[in-house]
């Protein structure tokens, strides 16, 4: 119970700080729209090709834009030595990590939920036809992105070339989750619901999320405290 309260305090603090400045969320949104525009030059966005590429494109946008939010997560604590204060606070490292991960999750999900209709308008994709299944894939895929991103955000916060290192080490490790989410999203955007063979991707996403959440909670103390 106490642990949950500590997680919620960190979560509330991070969301409040972000909502007051809106620096990461605004940047991520603008960046997401920018990628959507750039991709319109990559292929002719007619209906057939869009259906083929939509899922992949969407997750590339989410992963890239998400990194902007995740980069700020721990970097925000650098001025005034806030990170040292947080680590010294009487809460376990795992509570700090989970609080931050959940805050990032909400922020990244918010960016995605705004970007999704924009994507639907620009590329004329009927993403809302299987609304709840899309939301499920979004929820699972985003957690994969945030849990690894938050872990690596903590890992890279104090090092040189932070902004470069985070995507460099995050994306290769994210490949299975992104691949699963892309496969499912392509199916859903083509009007197919998740059934039969496709459930293996859903299981992959769930497994990936659970495995990396557990590993991060176990290992985060080493990263934060040493």
């Amino acid at each position: 119970m106490e642990f949950l309260r500590q997680v919620l305090v960190i979560l509330a603090k991070d969301v409040r700080a972000e909502l007051r400045t809106k620096e990461a969320v605004n940047a991520a949104l603008a960046f997401a729209v920018m990628i959507l525009v750039l991709f319109s030059f990559v292929f002719d966005p007619d209906e057939a090709t869009t259906k083929m590429f939509a899922g992949g494109l969407l997750w590339i946008v989410f992963a890239f834009a998400g990194t902007l939010v995740l980069n700020r997560s721990f970097a925000r604590e650098i001025p005034n030595d806030c990170l040292d204060a947080l680590v010294a606070a009487p809460i376990p490292g795992s509570a700090l990590f989970l609080g931050k991960a959940l805050a990032n999750y909400l922020l990244v999900a918010a960016v995605e939920l705004v970007a999704l209709p924009v994507f639907g308008i620009l590329y004329y994709v009927r993403w809302y036809e299987r609304f709840w299944q899309v939301m499920l894939v979004l929820a699972l895929g985003t957690w994969g992105v945030t849990v690894i991103g938050t872990m690596f955000s903590a890992l890279t916060v104090n090092i040189r070339l932070r902004e470069v290192m985070l995507p460099m080490i995050t994306y290769p490790m994210l490949t299975p989750a992104l691949m699963g989410a892309m496969q499912l999203t392509v199916d859903l955007m083509n009007g197919k619901s998740i059934a039969g063979d496709a459930t293996v991707w859903l299981k992959l996403l769930v497994g990936f999320d659970i495995l990396y959440t557990a590993a991060s909670i176990i290992l985060v103390d080493i990263v934060l405290v040493g």
Binding site: I148, L155, R160, M165, I169, P176, V223
Partner: protein
Amino acid sequence: MREKLLYALGVIAFAILARDIFIIAGFPPEVAQGNAFKIIFFHVPSWVAAGTALTTALLSSILFLVTKNFKYDATAVAATEVGVAFLSVGLATGILWARPIWGVWWVWDARLTSALILWLMYAGYLMLRHAVEEPTQRANFAAVFSILAFIDVPIVYFSIRWWRTQHPAPVFFSSGGSFPPDWSAVMGWNILAMVMLACVLVSVRLQQEQAQREIDSLRRLAHAL
């Protein structure tokens, strides 16, 4: 003494590889692939060497987190560097072989894609190490990353296999043929030589790493005085 032994081992490994090049050159061309198949005698051994090195790296990383002994951290970085070098050899020989046989340099087949992602992850490990200045922090971060990366290896491999089994692969070379015994013997020798070479390289790199650490501590001592 230890160094002499090390160099002797390296010389033997090179001698075996050099001898095998002559033997392999004497093999007749294969029915379907001509002479291009011969690269397999260096392709497979470099993957075995890479696998050995990276497994060593993982075990050393775990041992470091448990014992906090910097000897294991040095082993982990030495083994990962050598592992990445052999991964690169494996990828390069594969690409060279693919061009005449498949007609393209690269296909997005399960094995190739997993191998490339593996290479990217461990290259990330090396870059991460370069970016962290403080030795204890560097060792901790690298060990954590190594473990997280290792968890990913089977997930990457199986997910990409599902991906490719769901969508039938493009024209893809598959040989039902078997290896004649004298070829297998040469392959065995080459694997042994490559693994030996990897061990020598890891040990040399390990010595460098330990020397570096000694220099660093002396420098800190000088600053303190």
